[in-house]
């Protein structure tokens, strides 16, 4: 028998939403609207995607997979762009980065016969790779902006000693990559010990044998690990130079002065 949650049971999820909602109400956190909106939005999105996936899974792979992956890439790129607000061409860089990573990972899965080219396998797994890469790019962009602000003095010192922007920003690039990769490294270290990863849990709940589920989990975990590393590295190396101009001057400090004017 296929395990299934009844619609009535699902309705009781409202209780889980009421808990943070009452906390927000009593402590006046001002999150009420946000909690209700995100819960409703999440529910609608998931049902919509459920129906869409059912439809896509029935389509020929060659149509369903590229269609869904294009949607995922576009949504992910627009979402990650918010963290890089103000940086030129950031949307394009994010989109290209995600596209190259997704195509490479998918290519390797297919070449080494880890995943079958069917929508039911490729779409959920690609979603995990794209989603995690999107988060990594967003984190890297946010961190990089902060690091440039916080290390303004050190950057000026390095530039004033004759360093080119690529050398002066080495420290920033290192710190950014570290910050973007550490959560992922930690997650990989404790995988299966602290929490059973989502995909494996899903497969086990769906009736798949744990060892088979683990194999899929390994494929996705390692793929995510490498795509997250690549995403953070790609976006950091692509964007750091926009903090400088061609004369090796910090663009940020120039803007500050202009805004004072």
């Amino acid at each position: 028998m296929e395990p299934e949650i009844s619609n009535q049971s699902l309705l009781f999820l409202v209780v889980f939403v009421l808990i943070p909602l009452s906390l927000s109400y009593f402590y006046q956190l001002g999150l009420n609207k946000n909690i209700i909106w995100s819960s409703l939005r999440g529910t609608v999105q998931l049902f919509a995607i459920g129906y869409l996936l059912t439809y896509l899974f029935e389509l020929p792979a060659i149509i369903g997979i590229p269609f869904m992956i294009s949607i995922m890439l576009t949504v992910a790129a627009f979402h990650a762009r918010k963290k890089g607000k103000g940086l030129p061409n950031v949307l394009l860089y994010i989109f290209i980065g995600l596209l190259v990573i997704e195509v490479s990972v998918l290519g390797l899965w297919l070449i080494f016969d880890m995943v079958a080219f069917t929508p039911s396998e490729v779409i959920p797994m690609s979603g995990m790779v794209i989603g995690n890469s999107m988060v990594a790019m967003g984190l890297a962009l946010e961190r990089m902006k902060n690091e440039f602000k916080e290390n303004n003095g050190r950057l000026l010192a390095a530039l004033s000693l004759g360093a080119k922007p690529s050398v002066a920003s080495k420290l920033i690039v290192q710190k950014t990559l570290n910050a973007a990769l550490i959560p992922n490294v930690d997650q990989l270290k404790t995988i299966g010990l602290v929490q059973l990863p989502g995909m494996m849990t899903g497969l086990i709940l769906g009736g798949v044998a744990p060892v088979t589920a683990i194999k899929y989990q390994l494929v996705i975990s390692i793929s995510i690990f490498s795509s997250v590393s690549l995403s953070a590295m790609f976006i950091t190396l692509a964007m750091y130079r926009y903090f400088f101009n061609e004369q090796g001057q910090l663009v940020d400090s120039e803007e500050e002065i202009r805004s004072e004017a």
Partner: protein, 228 residues
């Protein structure tokens, strides 16, 4: 050595002045008058919005910025040391140009009167004064012809500031450097400077010999500034 021709950049307004080799120039004036901006213009950490700056008769824009900055060293108000050891910091500049020699470490420590045992010390373990000395040594490691100093002792206590002043005085005289320094400390200006540029509201209000211009200020603005 340096010539400013009609140079402006907020908050500076059309500046014209010249600085000769080996001069010891003090830039002083009220906060926000543009003194640090002038310093940053010398080594092209900023560009003027109008006008031209000449270094050794040549527009600064014609120099590769890395070469100009090597020749025109800057010490900032905060030491802004890089993570790592003292040695990592002082070899930073010369290593960029493939000019670092191991024996220079001891020599540079000597210049800023720190023991050479400090070379392998983590910069996090240093006091404020020691950090500023390392910052100075890091700039000197590039063997600059001009030393730009942006209030290098303002973040230090009086005693430590005096020690750094002494180091600076010796270094500038010994190496015959051209010095351009921003300071709010008129005692320091008298001690280290030979010429003063009083900057107010983005303009050079007075340009004269030190300490004479402080003893008998020509303008009312300078009088008022000194009385504050």
């Amino acid at each position: 050595m340096f010539r400013f021709e009609q140079v402006s950049r907020y908050p500076l307004k059309k500046m014209d002045f010249q600085i000769e080799k080996k001069e010891k120039v003090i830039l002083f004036g009220p906060s926000g008058s543009g003194k640090s901006t002038i310093l940053f213009l010398f080594n092209r950490l900023h560009n003027p919005t109008e006008g031209t700056i000449y270094f050794e008769g040549q527009n600064v824009k014609e120099y590769p910025f890395t070469e100009l900055r090597k020749r025109v060293g800057l010490v900032l108000q905060e030491p802004n040391l890089f993570p790592g050891t003292v040695l990592d910091n002082i070899k930073y500049g010369p290593s960029l140009f493939g000019e670092w020699k191991e024996e220079d470490g001891e020599l540079l420590m000597g210049y800023v009167q720190l023991p050479s045992t400090y070379l392998n010390r983590d910069v996090e373990q240093l006091s404020g004064g020691e950090k500023q000395r390392v910052s100075l040594a890091r700039t000197l490691a590039n063997q600059p012809e001009v030393l730009l100093l942006d209030e290098p002792t303002s973040a230090l206590d009086y005693r430590t500031a005096e020690d750094i002043e002494e180091v600076l005085e010796q270094l500038i005289n010994q190496h015959e450097l051209t010095m351009i320094m921003v300071t709010h400390d008129m005692r320091q200006a008298r001690r280290l400077g030979s010429r003063g540029l009083f900057i107010t509201e983005g303009e050079v209000m007075e340009d004269g010999k030190l300490p004479d211009m402080l003893d008998s200020p020509a303008s009312q603005a300078l009088k008022e500034f000194l009385e504050e």
